[in-house]
Amino acid sequence: MSVRYLVILPAADQAQANVLAKSEFDSDGGEKTFTVGLSADGKEPATHYWCSALCFRTGPERLLAAKALFPDAVVLDYDGATDPGFPQRTIAGLGLKQMATLPDR
């Protein structure tokens, strides 16, 4: 049994969140958990970072406990297989876009 969570947090929380991810959730590569950026116009600098993670066993409880340390973080569960559009709808609702460097065609 696993639950997929979407986590979005302000850039100011990035370093602390990556340290916590490494120490509490993912000893192998947790330091890179929040490396994909977001911003209002999709351009640098990133104002937020996000991740989508599968949580097993006690993971959901520990993740929700960790959220208490980051009051501005958004933590939502969803089903990535049946609703892959959930993350995009969520960031759109927050006024955020994925970072992109593409010029006009």
């Binding site: 991810a21 991740c51 989508s52 709808r89 593409l102």
Partner: protein, 260 residues
């Protein structure tokens, strides 16, 4: 429905439809060979690939995270992902009368790293069977680069190739698998980009290699994979049109991607 236990192509089970198609192709080639023209010959898929990632070889069940995707080429170019939240997942797709394993890259941060280095100035060829999952994602990257703004992926409901400049764009339909084919010779300025065998490259478009090859959001531009991928075949040279057709034949026989 009975599983197609007896039908094997390239060492793997395939559906009855795929096997019939493959047999028809072989018969057609034999007829051509015996026609006396001497201008046709049997073509087999080139096997000098430098990286071959095939989801059917993953010993996982649906929903399992994929931390390691073995390179079948023998070159050790395995795709890996140590960060748990960035690991794609195993899934099974149904398409063209077949069911086959796919690696599902999410719309946020899933990606993998490979040690494969396709130098920016050297020729290469990439074939991948893939379908985007969310057309609201602005940019998705199935194949990306660790250092360059380089993407084979999708863009708002289309297929995108951007090799430090626009290289190809084509509309795709939701839920449909496509064979994307990229053959590039930067030295000669040759760009051959095909989607299901149809040319979609932009004349004079971006024409460089990726250097280190990544998958999904592990690339320098961080674009999520946003797709399901059944197989990626990569060559360290520019395949000829005839060789490319043989690779398409393989993908058709294996996956019936044209849904015939």
């Amino acid at each position: 429905m009975q599983p197609d236990r007896q039908l094997m192509i390239d060492g793997s089970p395939v559906s009855a439809n795929a096997a019939r198609w493959f047999a028809l192709q072989q018969q057609r080639r034999r007829r051509r060979n015996s026609s006396g023209s001497g201008s046709d010959f049997v073509v087999t898929m080139p096997e000098d690939y430098v990286m071959r990632l095939r989801a059917d070889t993953l010993g996982l069940t649906v929903g399992d995270p994929v931390s390691f995707w073995t390179d079948l080429s023998g070159n050790g170019n395995d795709a890996t992902q140590d960060t748990v939240s960035m690991q794609p997942t195993m899934d099974v797709a149904s398409w063209g009368g077949n069911s086959f394993n796919v690696v599902r890259f999410d719309t946020v941060d899933d990606g993998m790293e490979t040690p494969l280095f396709l130098a920016a100035s050297n020729p290469f060829s990439i074939f991948a069977l893939w379908r985007p999952t969310d057309f609201d994602v602005f940019c998705g990257a199935l194949v990306s680069s660790s250092s360059r703004d380089w993407t084979v992926g999708n863009l708002n409901g289309g297929m995108l190739c951007f090799f430090e400049n626009w290289s190809a764009y084509a509309t795709v339909a939701a839920g449909v698998f496509y064979l994307v084919e990229v053959r590039v010779d930067p030295g000669a300025g040759t760009l051959a980009i095909f989607l299901n065998g149809n040319a979609v490259g932009i004349e004079g478009g971006g024409c460089v290699g990726p250097d280190q090859v990544m998958l999904g959001a592990s690339g320098a531009n961080g674009y999520p994979g946003n797709c399901e991928c059944a197989e990626v075949l990569t060559y360290g040279r520019f395949l000829s049109d005839t060789e490319a057709q043989a690779v398409r034949d393989y993908f058709q026989a294996q996956y019936n991607y044209l849904d015939l």
